[in-house]
């Protein structure tokens, strides 16, 4: 028995694979469809029966919590937005807004 996550994903999945050191990647290119389906079916059945090293898994879970926790994510977002805001000159922006209103008005009159 096992809990495999089986995917044809690219991109981020590969990153997870590299970080976690679990599983393997199979380049899809040039594999005929029938072969690919057989391969996926076989791997699914095989991995359903596999067991992993629990120590390795614990390390992975710790890694996940440090990297993918929602609280960390949201705090980082706030930090990023704060740093952006700190560079804004509000007074200048308001003056510019006023000018834009005027421009819009003149344009609409024409």
């Amino acid at each position: 028995m096992g809990v495999p996550i089986i995917s044809t994903q690219v991109g981020g999945i590969n990153e997870l694979l590299e970080n976690s050191k679990f599983g393997k990647s199979i380049p899809r290119k040039d594999i005929p469809e029938d072969e690919l389906i057989s391969l996926l079916a076989m791997e699914t059945l095989t991995t359903l029966q596999k067991r992993n090293n629990e120590t390795e898994k614990q390390l992975w879970l710790k890694h996940c919590k440090n990297k993918y926790d929602l609280k960390i994510f949201q705090q980082t977002i706030l930090d990023e937005f704060s740093s952006l805001i700190s560079t804004i000159n509000q007074e200048q922006k308001l003056q510019l807004n006023q000018r834009r209103i005027l421009e819009q008005f003149v344009k609409s009159e024409k």
Binding site: V3, I85, F105
Partner: protein
């Protein structure tokens, strides 16, 4: 006189002067007298006030004045008057004196907001919609921009702004679509963080066609939502005008866009104009694996032309960042890698969902459940997994498959399964709310994810976190990843439809 019409209909005037100056304009429904007095003033005629009551003025509910619609902005009535009197209104005062001279242009207020959006809405009604989904023949049933956006949120916004003593930073957030997907959950997590901080007012722009349970989720995280016809094609003048209006009237500080032409093009056009607004892009996927062969495909490629206008680019994985560096030669100074995230507090065991109780054999200890979650669309390639599942069933007929999601490919999947007489092994729940996903994860032994080009899918992370609490001692974790090196976004899906799948 510029500020208001303080003369009344009792003015006594020389007939010749009246005729010389064109009299009162009959094409103006309201304020025709004001228009005339202004013309006289423009021609240097001077009036005199007699401080003596000489007439009586009676008003009733059927008079023309009583019919003036107070909901229509004054500017609408005044437009003709201004046009007829260029001497009075042609030379506008400097912008810093604007509020003193022209009260209605002091700020873009509630009335002005209605007017701009009304103009926009009118355009929507006049524009044929190729965007309506199947079954939505009567567009009048659809939520219009005006009904949905403004009256639901706009009034509240203004009243709240008026009473609020807290200065909030203002964000304009543009997303092209709201579906039940990883990218949208990514957006929701960002919006939730901003909302929870209490320091941001958020105006969300999305498309009209969006009609999904997640729209409610989004509306809970933002202060107002505007729905436009579309956001992925080129920016239109009206759209630009509306965006411009929102930017000014909300005093926007940060504009965030995610995979929208409209957003990128707005950045390009306004980078120099709005120097004190920060532009942010969110990129979560790799759409093209082979940029040389398919140079225009994919948001990551499309958006590179706009990189110079950005203040910050948030990407969902280092893989994506590496890809951008290698293929697009982008500078990474502005780029921040921010992984999708998981609410770990959800990760606890759930009881079996009710509809699975009848589907699974309660007496079987060896029966396994394999789960697919995703839209039944090309991007998720569900048909590949149907074929794989059918193949698996030839080896182990006890395995059951649950495929969660909706989409135009679903009927083909169901058809093919019934043709193979394997319907008993499959269960197709409809779309479920995100919180429900955990219940299914809890019941499953394997998770199939086939998003062809997204970043790190959140559902996989959820799977990881979930299993770590529940299946920790019983199961393992294993990935099987198939890399798509072709430049096609569809893993051979078109081939499916040339053959028996269509039948």
């Amino acid at each position: 006189m510029i500020k208001e019409n303080f003369l009344t209909s009792c003015a006594l005037i020389d007939r010749e002067i009246y005729l010389e100056n064109g009299g009162m304009c009959e094409s103006i429904k309201y304020f025709e007298d004001y228009d005339f007095w202004l013309r006289l003033a423009s021609n240097n005629y001077i009036g005199k006030l007699l401080k003596e009551p000489l007439f009586k003025y009676r008003r009733h509910n059927f008079g023309l004045s009583a019919q003036v619609n107070l909901n229509v902005p004054m500017e609408e009535y005044m437009a003709e008057v201004r046009k007829n009197n260029p001497i009075i209104f042609g030379d506008l005062p400097p912008h810093h004196q604007l509020s003193n001279h022209l009260p209605c242009y002091k700020t873009l207020d509630h009335e002005n907001d209605i007017q701009v959006i009304k103009n926009y809405s009118q355009t929507l009604l006049e524009t044929p919609f190729p965007y309506f989904p199947e079954g939505f023949k009567n567009r009048l049933n659809y939520i219009s921009l005006l009904d949905y956006s403004f009256f639901s949120y706009g009034k509240e916004f203004f009243s709240r702004q008026g009473n609020s003593t807290i200065k909030k930073w203002s964000i304009l957030y543009i997303i092209p679509w709201m579906v039940m997907g990883g990218a949208d959950l990514y957006d929701l997590h960002i919006l939730n963080a901003l909302k929870e901080s209490g320091f941001y007012h958020i105006t969300l722009i999305t498309v009209i066609e969006t009609d999904h349970v997640w729209k409610k989720k989004f509306s809970e995280q933002v202060d107002e939502i505007f729905s436009l016809p579309q956001l992925t094609s080129n920016i239109k003048a009206r759209t630009e005008k509306l965006l411009d209006h929102l930017v000014i009237s909300r005093n926007i500080d940060i504009i965030v866009t995610r995979s929208t032409n409209v957003g990128y093009q707005f950045f390009e056009k306004n980078r120099k104009i709005y120097q004190d607004i920060r532009f942010v892009d969110i990129l979560h996927l790799v759409e093209s694996e082979n940029p040389k062969e398919n140079s225009q495909l994919g948001w990551e490629i499309f958006s590179k032309d706009y990189h110079q206008y950005l203040d910050k680019r948030i990407v969902a994985s280092h893989h994506l960042l590496g890809y951008l560096k290698e293929t697009q030669n982008l500078s990474t100074e502005k780029v921040k890698v921010l992984y999708p995230a998981v609410e770990t507090t959800f990760c606890h065991p759930y009881p079996l969902p009710d509809n699975l109780k009848t589907f699974l054999d309660p007496n079987s200890k060896t029966q396994k459940l394999v789960l697919f979650i995703g839209r039944f669309e090309e991007q998720k390639d569900p048909l590949l997994w149907v074929k794989v599942a059918l193949k698996i069933l030839t080896k182990d007929s006890l395995i059951k498959f649950v495929m969660i999601g909706e989409g135009w490919m679903k009927k083909y999947a169901e058809h093919h399964i019934s043709k193979e007489l394997k319907s008993n092994s499959f269960f197709f729940p409809s779309l479920i709310d995100h919180d429900e996903v955990f219940k299914y994860l809890s019941a499953s032994h394997a998770l199939l994810v086939t998003s062809t080009y997204e970043g790190v899918p959140i559902v996989i992370l959820e799977g990881y976190f979930y299993f770590c609490y529940f299946f920790y001692f019983f199961f393992d974790f294993h990935f099987l990843s198939i890399i798509n090196n072709s430049n096609s976004n569809l893993y051979g899906c078109p081939n499916y439809f040339n053959s028996s799948w269509r039948n």
